[in-house]
Assembly symmetry: C2
Homo-oligomer: 413 residues x 2
């Protein structure tokens, strides 16, 4: 193992100790104390090496390398925040890889004397996970103009703390805009088992799956679990349970095209053991590579909602919805990454991403490269998430090559 | 309307203003600030009229009338605590009715010069509702020796506050035992629609329904809602949803004997929108007048659990369980109440109680009388709970007559 690889692994080890959980994961939800510690660690890493750091109005943290004053930037990054009891790799690996890649590119340009036409910035995007503050991918959504800044700052967590307050408390509420982007790149663990199963080192992401996420409220009436006769009940939790089962059963209707469905978050009111619930708020998440399948699933689900309303004597109210269409990454970026992988002798294959990433937002404003490294057994959003050191290092090597080519202007039209 | 009736209604109006909600209910969960206010109101009411008040080690509040020093007491009461967004009548009516009944009996004895063989006490039993601290009927369970004091004091709410701390904070953690019981009586709204539908004024409760309440934990594995392939998921929330549906469907298997089932409380971990849940904790509640039906329902449910474990790739772990058999109130107490109702010209019928009450505990140590007044449309554990003033007053009149008879020793064997 060379010194550069060892430095990556040592840094990853140090980073993983921040917000570490007993079972080997991390818990660093957005704008918490653990998130602050991780950010301070990154600021320290960057400033020690001569990067200029800056924070924008939504808490995105940038480490700038400006070789050509005034030129736009290649934004290279991911996110340091995690799910509750999340894994060490998800997001944090991408930020650390970005830091090492940009630093290596800087050293390469310094030793060759070359002045590239584009600058580079390491980025830690704010609140990619969306567990404390909804929706997910918030920092990159505000940066790319998809979500208004004021709306994002006003989002509150379950304790009523707003994004603005939380960022101010940890000292990462900036007062300026981030740097202007020319291109973007992100590397991430796959969070699936395709690469692991096939023994391939790199996934070249061509497109995201389409996703439809929405919040519903099942409205019933509060009553006594013992004395209220069954026929009189309007049980919001029973309605929600039937929705959860219906959402799962959608999957079996599409045997030929993968459809992923889930309900991950449920709030019950009043949630007392002897009270039939008056309301249940549920977050639904449907994803497919086929827009047609997703639309058909939505239509079936709406019919199921009507049936559940009738059978359970509840009302199902749709609150908010976020829809992501199937949207390709720029093919020229995929090709640039493929050539870079070839040059380094890394095995690779084209892939789709089932999960959303900050790059999903970035690609809608600038040409963006998205790379995957393998996840052992595809385990993700779990403390047992694992990627082999060899794959960690190979990913940083490839990202370095991709960033160098983007900074040199290989994608300039 | 006579002055005594008017005093009851005026007091009920004053009491209903404490912890009042906008929609006309109350929220006074056990040992909260609103519970403290209500208790202070009762202490003031009692001491103004010359009662001696005392608080026992689990926060049960007693107002004593001791006519025969050293004789045991007729305990007359219910509970002032409420569900979240509960109704005004549930519990509070029974405590107020007890206060008026014992006071009227006191005045009756004072004017007749009679010295009854038994004393009387108004009681506000601690934490009947069980919404903040589980289980329900805690104060009467400790008083009757069914639950160890230390175990009850150590129970914590969702914020980690113990019963002992919460009672100390509101100034109602006593240092002595409650008075010794000879008999008990309680009046409560029916929380069902039998009396309302039949136009009958009084329910004479002969027995409780059997109930089986238990806590289960559905254990899965945390993963990513987007990228984890469906076959790999161990979705604890999906498992819980299937349990909730199975619990409801039990009811339809017993068309001839009412079975009431519910799941009122569910906690999901980590409860993040993009994470497949690793654990779901669920509180189940099955009740029937038939022990056989309840046992058969339990057996079916256990088979359903096994099927859900297999279909959903989760584990279902039973945590704690409380079982109440069908257990009659003493028939001589029912007969005493029937004669009292006849004497007052009130229409009445024998009934079962589907809900648990403090008297369900008391009847296991002393002969106990349980009375119901009508609930309009049977609405309960709901801010729209309602009982007509006329029924409120008739209930107090009957309770007064019952307490007088119990104090006079009519049930002495």
């Amino acid at each position: 193992m060379n010194a550069a690889d060892r430095a990556v692994l040592d840094d990853f080890h140090a980073l993983s100790a921040l917000g570490a959980t007993e079972a080997g994961g991390v818990e660093r939800q957005a704008a918490t104390e653990a998130d602050r510690q991780t950010r301070e660690w990154l600021v320290d890493w960057l400033t020690t090496r001569g990067f200029t750091t800056t924070v924008d109005r939504i808490g995105n943290l940038f480490g700038l390398r400006e070789w050509t004053p005034g030129a736009p930037f290649v934004l290279v990054g991911s996110h340091l925040d995690s799910q509750p009891r999340g894994g060490r790799y998800d997001g944090a690996y991408g930020v650390l890889a970005a830091a090492h890649a940009v630093q290596r590119v800087h050293e390469r340009f310094a030793s060759s004397g070359e002045t590239p036409p584009f600058n580079a910035a390491v980025v830690n995007w704010f609140n990619e996970e969306g567990s404390r503050f909804k929706p997910s991918m918030m920092g990159s959504a505000v940066y790319t103009g998809k979500m208004p800044l004021e709306e994002a700052l006003a989002v509150t967590d379950l304790d009523g703390v707003s994004v603005e307050e939380a960022l101010a408390r940890i000292g990462f509420l900036g007062e300026q805009d981030g740097p202007r982007a020319a291109f973007a790149a992100e590397i991430h663990i796959e969070q699936g088992r395709v690469l692991d199963k096939e023994g391939i080192q790199i996934g070249l992401v061509e497109s995201n799956w389409a996703a439809h996420k929405y919040q519903i409220s099942v409205v019933g009436a509060q009553s006594h679990t013992g004395s209220t006769v069954m026929a009189d009940r309007q049980d919001a939790l029973l309605g929600a349970a039937r929705v959860i089962v219906a959402v799962r059963e959608l999957v079996d209707r599409f045997p030929d095209t993968p459809l992923h469905t889930s309900a991950g978050q449920l709030f019950v009111h009043p949630n007392s053991p002897v009270v039939v619930a008056r309301e249940a708020e549920l977050h639904l998440d449907l994803r497919s590579e086929s827009l047609e399948v997703l639309q058909e699933a939505d239509a079936i689900l709406n019919r199921e909602f009507a049936a559940i309303e009738a059978s359970t004597n509840v009302k199902i109210v749709k609150k908010s919805a976020h829809f992501w269409p199937v949207n390709p990454y720029q093919p020229e970026g995929v090709e640039l990454a493929r050539e870079a992988a070839e040059a380094l002798g890394l095995s690779h294959r084209p892939m789709l991403t089932l999960a959303g990433h900050d790059s999903t937002n970035l690609k809608d404003i600038v040409p963006t490269v998205m790379l995957f490294v393998p996840s052992v057994e595809g385990i993700s959003h779990n403390e047992h998430e694992f990627t082999h050191d060899e794959d960690i290092c190979a990913g940083v090597n490839l990202l370095t090559e991709v960033v160098a080519r983007l900074c040199r202007g290989d994608l300039r039209s």
